[in-house]
Symmetry: C2
Subunit: 214 residues, 2 copies
DNA sequence: AGGTAACCACACCGGTCGGTATACTCGCAG
DNA sequence: CTGCGAGTATACCGACCGGTGTGGTTACCT
């Protein structure tokens, strides 16, 4: 089975740029975007605001880069869990989510970012939509069915929200149970047990892989 | 059937206080909490920061009041849709949500607020959890079953997120379809088509039908 | 008459916001 | 040797942040 890749490649950065993006990612996720100033980011990265603006041009661009990085890391985590998971692929997504949320206690970075910048024309908005769209395509591919994949996507997002904002530690397990019911009912015979397939979709569909680099 | 009320009563406010809360609610929802300063709120309400702090003490308290108001308004909207909706109660929730999201284009105020203040000890956090917990109780009551209600809750939250952050206009409809499948499968015999009798799985466990009134 | 709650106008506080400017050092490729 | 990209250090900008203080004006209640 071929799973789609998230449509972001990793940026080529100078050492200081790398430290800045790493520091910004940690701070943005843990405290929120508007709650973190560029001064703090530069200081945490052990460099200066000057370097930050030389590399990234704008705080907004740094935010967009932060989200792209999150998308790539979540994909890596997810595909690692899916690898070797047999025909119950769709359900393994919920196991991957449970493990992910054990460390990422502030929930979905994209939903959180949208809460802060949604509707403002912020460059992060496109990244947010692209990630949601990608995740849906993954679930549709795993489910082998458009409607079932869309339903699983709803459960996946609902579980993330209720786990985090709702404080319901059983949310992911409930979602998995519900998903199992849907999957079992919809296509019980489509997936023969012994088959190891790997996801081969590695098309990077962006040619502009550099940074402002001015 | 008795549905639980949201555990917030409406505050008694002076005229200027009312204007402040109304202005703050609009601004917080549309632009985010941290993006809105107290100066702007006071100016929009046609009053001064002094009055704001005399009435509410803190911006954080104003934020909590804002969320309580949102919860009450959503409950009123939801119950109005449920009223007269026959035995297909659980599905009417998704119709109410669709209508709600047609006007509330920034999605769930509680999820958005949690993205900004989650994990900081902010007084809004308790309000957020209470609202999610209340909504779950409503869905469990409507479904007449704990597991089914929890599953519907997942679909409800997932639909809200995917509609808003994901930009999927079909999210609520998909959630409704999926919910219909779950409901139909779980209790097919309890609801004879031509009958206005209510499904009896909802145990009446509270006599407090009015407002919390505490 | 006196008290008081509500309100407004305005000034002020230290701190932080995103972003810019100047000037200097280092290593490396032509 | 020179030029340049990368980095550091530091000062600065106007605007805004949440929050406080002072003083004065209504209107209503005893």
């Amino acid at each position: 089975m071929v799973l789609p890749d998230v449509p972001f490649d990793d940026p080529v950065l100078t050492p200081a740029g790398e430290r800045l993006l790493r520091a910004a990612s940690e701070l943005f996720y843990r405290r929120g975007i508007r709650a973190v100033g560029v001064d703090l980011i530069a200081e945490t990265a052990g460099t200066t605001k000057k370097t930050l603006y030389d590399r990234f041009g704008t705080k907004d661009e740094l935010v967009a880069l932060y989200l792209r990085g999150r998308a790539r890391r979540w994909q890596a985590h997810l595909f690692a869990h899916l690898h070797g998971a047999g025909p119950e692929g769709p359900l393994a997504v919920f196991d991957a989510l449970a493990a992910w949320l054990r460390e990422q206690d502030r929930g979905c970075a994209f939903v959180n970012a949208h809460a802060e910048v949604g509707g403002t024309g912020h460059p992060a908005e496109a990244v947010i939509r692209a990630e949601k769209d990608w995740m849906r395509r993954v679930l549709v591919a795993l489910a082998g069915d458009e409607r079932l994949g869309a339903a699983l996507h709803l459960l996946y997002e609902g579980a993330t929200v209720l786990h985090t904002a709702g404080g319901r530690v059983d949310a992911v397990a409930t979602a998995r149970d519900t998903a199992a019911g849907l999957v079992g009912r919809s296509a019980p015979a489509l997936l023969p047990p012994p088959a190891q397939q790997q996801h081969e979709g590695a098309q990077q569909r962006e040619e502009h892989h550099g940074l402002p680099q001015r």
